[in-house]
Structures are given as C-alpha cells and as structure tokens.
Amino acid sequence: MKVSFPYMGTTVIYKKLLELLGHEVIEPPEPTQRTIDLGVKYSPEFACFPLKVVLGSYIEALEIGAETLVTSGGHGPCRAGFYGETHKKILENMGYDVDIIVFDGYKRDIMGTIKKVLRVKNGKPWRTVWKAIKTVYAMAKALDGIEKRIGQMRAYEIHRGDCTKAWQKIKKSFDDVKTIEDVERIEKESHILLDEIALRDVPDSDRLRIGIVGEIYVVMEQSINLRIEETLGSLGAEVERSQYISEWIDFNLKPGASAKEHELYILKKGEKYIQEIIGGHAKQTVGHIVDYAERGFDGVVHLMPFACLPELVSQSIIPTISKDYNIPVITLPIDEQTGAANVLTRLEAFMDLIRNNKKTKTA
C-alpha cells in the first residue's frame, strides 16, 4: 500500500509517522503553480483555497504512484471538515481509483475510527505504534522550536538566505530519525548549526515583532502564502506564527488538560469579541491578536483563504480590536489570483508604517 498525505507545513513529520508504521510513503511534491492550477481546474469554483491546493497535491501524489491518502477530517462547522468527502467524490469522478482514509473526531463514529486506526497501524504491534507516535511528537516539538527560533533570527542575518538554507538542511536531516534519541541528537546539532549563522546586532528598542494569525493552512503552508515569514524576515521583522503543528496536536489530540492550557488561554482572550467557537480558527485568530498586542508586538498580519467562512467573521471584527488595542493589523486574503508583487508592496507599506509608528512612539 503506497500511502500519501496532504501537504501542509513541515511534512517530514507526517511522513515519518507513516514510515515508522512500515508504510511505503509517497511524499507529495511541494505545491507549485501547477499544483494550484490542477486543484483549481477540478474543484468547485467557490470552494475555499486550501481545498483546491490539497486536491492539486493529491492529484500530483496519485500521478507518482500513491494509492491511499491519509488525512484528518473535522467536525465542522467550517468547510474543512468536509474536505475528505469532497475530494473523494471529485477524484472518483476523475477516474482515479483511490482510497482516502479520513480521521474524524472519534466520538462521531467509534467503530469506524478503530477500523481506520487498524488499517493505518499496518499490523504492527501496539508497542511500535506507541513508540512511533512518541518519536513523531518529539520531532514535531523539536522542529517547531527550531522554526520559531529561525523566525526570530531571519530578520538579522547578515547573508540573506542563510537561515532558510539552514532550515532546509535541518528538515532533511530529520528525515533520518528512527528513534527518540535521534530526535534529541539532531535537535542539538540543528541548534549548533543555527548558532553559526552570522547575525547583525540590533538593540532591543529597534526590534520589530510581527505576529501572523489566521486560518491554519495558509498560515502554515509557506509555498502558498508567498513565503510570508521569509518576506517579513527580509523586511527586518521577527516573526511568530499563531499556529504550530505541535500546538495543534496538543490541543486536538493529546489527552489531559495541561496540554490544552495554552489554547484555552488564547480562546479566553478572544471571548470578548467572539463568544462561541464558530469553527475554523476565528476565535483563536481574535484571541491571538489580543495576545500579541498585550505582549507588545508591533503589528499583526492576518492571513485567510478567500471567502473563508469563519475568518470573514474575524475580519469584520478586526478593525475594532485594532482600535481597542492600538495595534496595526493587515488582512491578506489568499487564493489562486493572489499576485506576489501586490502582496509585497502592501507588506512593505505596512512595515514602513510600523517602523514610523515605533519611532514616534519612542521619540
């Protein structure tokens, strides 16, 4: 069984999990213009952008031999929860004979979930499964830690591109992980690698910090959000994302209350503006903006797929938050029509504004 998965963020993590369970893994190629074109061609015109990109990436994975796709479902009420079903229908209609295993919330269909787990488990003993999960979780934590550090460093690198290069190298070296000890070793090595990058010295008062909030796919997947972190870094801003995969695991999958603390804290912050969880990450978006403002960030970039249902609600509320907390926020809707030059110009203007803001504030 040749297995593949949707492309999002640091894919080496999902790849590793399936590999450790003994599957033959077909890694989907990083989304390119072709991926987007394919997705757009076969998706409903008004579907949200992630659905199109993921469909495109499925098609590309199927082209290079994948037979089964493993993905996560959802419980709504945002459209993302229905991706699995829609993709299946479209792919079948296109004539692909493909098996999509969708992991929904287990409460919806307990027997079904057990069956799916057994299929993905691939006949391995539970001990191996447990070890695989532990290793991959450690890996996700390690990679996210490194990525966070890179987000801060990139603004001050002397040779443009050093950090991004190092990041590529680090992701590759994590590919060799077999056990949890490997993770620790490679994590250490990676930090040493990062220590070697030459950085400019910038006084604390001149540091610009930008938070990135929004829908999880466009925030995490750099190939479709115009490499926003690199772009902001090259414009001289430290970057922190609101979404990291390990945090998602903590909140959605890991049992126990302590793991959920951070997310609940953020949700609490958003309460004032959006009272209920309305699907997607709208409430988190609002909560994160408040959190960034309180932590003294200089600005926030809000990313959303075009016509994303929950993010439209947060977008409507953002001007009020921006005023209440005196923090500049720029909203960038992303879809297949988004032009790089347009976004870059807007971001440059946004950065100028923030820089001036800061100067007048400190002067």
Binding site: S43, P44, E45, F46, A47, C48, G73, H75, G76, P77, C78, R79, G81, F82, G84, E85, T86, K89, I90, N93, D104, R108, Y273, I274, Q275, E276, I278, G279, G280, A282, F306, A307, C308, L309, P310, L312, V313, Q315, S316, I317, P319, T320, I321, P333
Partner: protein, 342 residues
C-alpha cells in the same frame, strides 16, 4: 439606561426591531407573535432595496456573502429608526451534531463589533435546539431578564408563537411559498391560485433568504410560475422525509439548512414528477460551493437537468430571465418530444 427608558414609556411600548433578512423568512411568525404577546411593538425593516444593499456593502468586509451584506443593511436601517432593541439571535444548532454556517454563529459578534451604535442594542439569545422548533423557553430566559419580563411571561408568549409557527409550517407544506404561508397565518390572506396551465414541475434549491428576497432572486418563483411552472422548494417538504434522504451519505454536511437543501436536491433527482432542478445561490456562499459540486456530479449521473444561478449585487434582471426561459424551454421540448415518441 434602557431600563430607565422603559420606565418612562411603560413597558408596552418597547420597540423590537427584526431585520427582514436571513432567517426572518423561516421564523418570523414565531418571533413576531412571541414579542407581540409579550407586549412589545415589533418593527421590521423594509424590503431590500438597492439603496439599503449599498449601505450594507459599505459596512461589510468586501469578500463576505451577499445575504450578510443585506443583513447589515437592514440592521443599519433599524438603527436609524428609533427601536430600543434589535433581535438577532445567535443561531447555533437545530439538530444534534449539526450547526449553522459559521457566519450565522458569529453574526451577533460581527454586528456588535462592526456596525457603529449596534453594540448595546442587539438581543442575541443563543439558539441551540434539537429540532426546527426553536421555541424552547429556556433559550429565551436570559433575554427576558434583559427586557425585564418574567420567565412565566416568556413561556406563555412562546406558546402562542409556537402555535402560529406550526400553523405556518403546516400551510407551507401544502405547496405554498414561505411568503404566502406567512401572509396567511399573520394576516389571514389566502394566496391566489396559480392561473396558468401547469406543464412542468421544477425543484428549486435555495435558502429562504435567497429565494424570497426579491432583490437577490429577482422574484424567481413568480417568474417561473408565470411560465406555467410548478415550483417546489425544500420548506414545502416534510422535515422527517427530507432527513431520511441523507441516510445514504457517509458523512452529512455540518449545516442544517444546507443538509435540507441537499436532501431536497437528492429527492428531486429521484422523483420522476420533477422535471428539472434550479439551484439559486448567492455569491460567496461557502456551503453552497460544496452542495453545488455534489449536485453537479450526481445530476449528471442520473440525467436530470440541473442549473445553478449565482447571484450577487451586480446581477442583471435580463440575464436571469433569459437563463430561466432557456432552461424551461429546454425541459419543455425534451418533455414534448418524449410524449410524441411514446
């Protein structure tokens, strides 16, 4: 402040505004009777006009769907008139495990924080119930406290509301549109019989706030009827029967009204007495983007004519007329050819 106002006016004159948008077309008989039995005066905003829509567009983010822009327009109109409160419930769920579109669930938040002057005027009880009947008194107690009425009052008024709403639904199912049914239960006006000869039956898929807002659908029901078409919509069908239609689906959609639409769509596909299906959808409707695709694929399989009409603030009337005329003509020809051959 408002309590003081109430004191000055006497409770009887408390004015409650209800925007003529979104679920107004499904729940107005309930809400109107409820508030009037409570002793409030109910004020509804006028019909959707271009002017009102323009105001709504200016107050909304640009990418949001037309129905929400229209709602914003209606709320602005109510804010300008001197209502004391605007009733805008937070619709969470009317079926176990299902929800409303995220925009409905966040609607009060959106309106309170984006329309100037709306913050303290919105009444937004959280509606989550197990069936279409949302007249459970517990849902409205909090709001009652804000209005200064007792739980007992709420309970009795809801009982009245429920009666009228049930009557409205019953009448609806006798092949009358929601507007006709509303006129009947609230004003006792019996709808006129369709005079033209009926040759064709078309299943119309569309949310109540798209189909019955004349600015959005441009009176598509009347247009079709004038062409001698019998129109069936989802709210003319029995809820339980609709619900069963979706049993074959492995995973249902998350949105109750979208499920109703899809179920009606599937029913239309199977029902031999339905000659064609028209799907009316507003630009930027998220759930519809998925339903549309599912219907497109399935209608092709079963060989039933299916057309999507997507409307937004720029849609022209002639365009709509031409398309439905062509669609009806096509069905008509197909049908007469079939009869000749037989």
């Amino acid at each position: 402040m408002y309590n003081f106002l109430m004191f000055l006016r006497g409770f009887n004159n408390l004015k409650i505004g209800i925007p003529r948008a979104l679920l107004y077309y499904y729940y107005y008989p309930l809400w109107k009777t409820f508030f009037e039995t409570l002793g409030c005066e109910v004020i509804i905003s006028g019909k959707t006009t271009i002017d009102l829509l323009d105001k709504g567009i200016k107050a909304s983010v640009s990418d949001i769907c037309v129905p929400i822009k229209i709602l914003n327009g209606h709320v602005l109109e109510l804010l300008e008139s001197d209502v004391d409160y605007i009733f805008l419930p937070r619709m969470m769920s009317i079926r176990k495990g299902e929800f409303f579109c995220p925009k409905f669930m966040g609607l009060p938040d959106m309106v309170r924080h984006s329309l100037p002057g709306a913050k303290d005027k919105i009444l937004f009880p959280n509606i989550s119930s197990l069936s279409d009947d949302i007249s459970d008194d517990k849902l409205y107690y909090d709001m009652g406290q804000r209005l200064g009425v007792t739980d007992k009052n709420i309970k009795e008024s809801l009982k009245e509301g429920r009666k009228v709403w049930n009557e409205f639904r019953r009448f609806s199912k006798e092949d009358y549109t929601a507007l006709e049914a509303m006129d009947y239960v609230l004003e006792g006006k019996l709808p006129e019989k369709q005079v033209e000869d009926i040759n064709i039956t078309i299943g119309l898929m569309g949310y109540v706030y798209d189909v019955y807002d004349d600015l959005v659908s441009m009176g598509i029901v009347d247009r079709l009827r004038k062409m001698g078409v019998k129109v069936i919509t989802f709210e003319m069908m029995d809820e339980v029967m609709l619900d069963r239609e979706l049993d074959s689906m492995k995973k249902r959609l998350f949105w109750t009204f979208s499920n109703k639409l899809l179920a009606a769509g599937y029913k239309f596909l199977k029902d031999e007495s339905i000659d064609g299906i028209i799907h009316v959808t507003a630009f930027g409707c998220g759930p519809d983007s998925l339903i549309g695709k599912l219907m497109e694929i399935d209608s092709e399989k079963l060989g039933k004519p299916f057309m999507t009409i997507r409307v937004d603030e720029h849609t022209g009337e002639n365009h709509l007329q031409t398309r439905i005329e062509a669609f009806v003509d096509m069905i008509y020809r197909k049908k007469s050819k079939y009869i000749k051959e037989a």
